[in-house]
Symmetry: C2
């Protein structure tokens, strides 16, 4: 298996990205997984050079880099030698099985749509983000931000994509699929949600458990949480912000009073709050998987450091092992009728 | 000043509601505020009877009660002697200056629209909910759930309503008004948000600071957070759920290990986490104010106990003191042109 990593993408590139890739290569040693760093060879060689022989690690030169502020489509046109274009093309050509990047999400999405293309029958690929607000129960929320405006059939598609990912990557037997709404009753919601609810009830092979509300997120009510990319993105980032603050607060505690911090950390663990902090910490999750395109694309947080990148690479490995794009393609073929409701 | 309280509404009515009203009456003793309990007189008399003389507290009989599952409009028609109808009518007739209820939000909204009516020039009254995720900086989020489907001009209305409430009730000099979105740039958002952003830039007298993202909620970026009632409701409830869990976790900690709980509580306070828990705890805030109707209506959480009700009553007092409905009416008159964009 070959996993390509964008060593130029993200706020802490290349140093933290390379560091995370090395950690991943170490933890995957002798597991037949090659990690390919894509970026400026001379720079990468300085940091990773000495590991290239010992670890299953290699470098592919990408002289260009797409910045966050650039217009995605134009950037892809103007920078054919950028790490994002090269990494995505490697997946397309089969020289890599997955591509992980903490670079511009917009550019990543466009590259995936334009270069890899959507799986036949899929209208709107979605970003599936794993949240862990309850212990031992990671849930998949999608769309986490790929589609700000959605129609009911798109949300139904998200449900089907999430169902597959939850089943095969997260390992949930019969994923409970819920629709995020402002009320539990099927009459509650905005127009989009009310229409989607009626459609989801009719999807064969989907364990649709109805609407869920914001407070249900901490109650392990569902394994797959379906929502439009606008609401999903706002929600994911809200949790992220809270996670950051709690972590910062603990760091302040540490600075101010190391002893009380240690007591506090012990307490937080004691009473089970550790999982909640972790669940709100994108570093633990690693990245969101773009579901519905012809290939495995993991979009990591722009602020990803080594730990987040390592986790994103491990997530990519699991996704490739489970042949998610193929499973989606097969599932769509089987259910064309209900997809194109 | 007279504040009517729905003693029949909410999961813990009447006992906790009455208890909260008594606490409020005690804290408002000799401040010229009469608190009127609306509910089944015999029941209320048992609990509140002995306080009626000592405190500025009275009872108005309401033999009927609207349940959460009832259809709002029908319930209002079929139950003219319900606490919600009587309380709202008292505000309309001026025998009460405000009405506070933890009963059916749907019924409360319908009662306010149908019995009190909207302020001239206001198309969509909104629920303004105060969130405190940063110390010393409560922010007003609206719409918290009154309007699941919105058009840009509605969000502009929310911004104007929130601006007034933040200025006069929360006491912010020049409230920073932000639009919740999935990206900071004005090109980011769903269609609704992108159009709204352009309109908000043109509203005179509004300190519009642009889009904010979910993670900005903990960074005291804005004083007024504008969003549609669907997103707002999902967000508010998500924080509520997290607040509940953190509180529960601490209670578990207490049960398991009282010593570590005390240490932990001290630590959480030390390092400033107390405010965050409080900010996510609806008991501290009390209720959401329905802005844009002809009267002061406070919608409390269905799970409100005494503390939440007391805080909701104190919130009602501040809202009445500041003559918010009148200020909104005046402001709308002055700016009819921009309201009816």
């Amino acid at each position: 298996m070959r996993i390509a990593v964008d060593a130029s993408g993200g706020d802490y590139a290349p140093y933290e990205i390379v560091k995370g890739a090395i950690k991943a290569a170490q933890s995957l040693k002798d597991k037949g997984v090659e990690i390919i760093l894509i970026g400026k060879r001379p720079v990468l060689h300085v940091q990773a050079g000495k590991h290239l022989k010992k670890l299953n690690l290699s470098i592919v030169h990408a002289p260009q880099n797409i910045e966050f502020h650039e217009h995605p489509v134009e950037a892809l046109k103007n920078k054919p030698k950028s790490s994002i274009v090269i990494g995505t093309m490697m997946v397309k050509e089969g020289t890599a099985d997955a591509f992980v990047s903490a670079g511009s999400t917009g550019a990543m999405l466009c590259a995936a749509y334009l270069l890899l293309g959507k799986i036949e029958g899929i209208e709107r690929p979605a970003l599936g983000s794993i949240i862990k607000l309850t212990p031992h129960a990671p849930a998949l929320l999608l769309d986490a931000g790929a589609n700000a405006d959605c129609r009911p059939q798109h949300l139904v598609e998200f449900a089907r994509l999430g169902n597959i990912y939850s089943k095969y990557v997260i390992g949930v037997d019969k994923p409970r699929v819920a629709l995020m709404s402002n009320g539990e009753e099927e009459t509650k919601g905005n127009k989009l949600v009310i229409e989607t609810h009626q459609m989801l009830k009719t999807v064969p092979g989907l364990n649709f458990i109805g609407n869920m509300e914001g407070h249900d997120l901490v109650h392990n009510k569902a394994d797959v949480i379906v929502t439009d990319g606008f609401t999903g993105n706002v929600l994911i980032k809200a949790f992220e912000g809270l996670g950051d603050s709690i972590i910062k607060i603990r760091q302040v505690g540490q600075a101010v009073n190391s002893a009380s911090h240690l007591r506090g950390r012990a307490l937080l663990a004691d009473v089970g709050m550790g999982h909640m902090v972790k669940g709100m910490d994108f570093r633990e999750v690693g990245g969101a998987c773009l579901l519905g395109v012809k290939g495995t694309i993991i979009v990591s947080h722009g602020r990803s450091r080594a730990k987040a990148m390592m986790n994103a690479i491990l997530m990519a490995k699991r996704t490739v092992e489970q042949r998610i794009p193929q499973l989606i393609a097969e599932e769509v073929k089987e259910n064309v009728s209900s997809v194109t409701v």
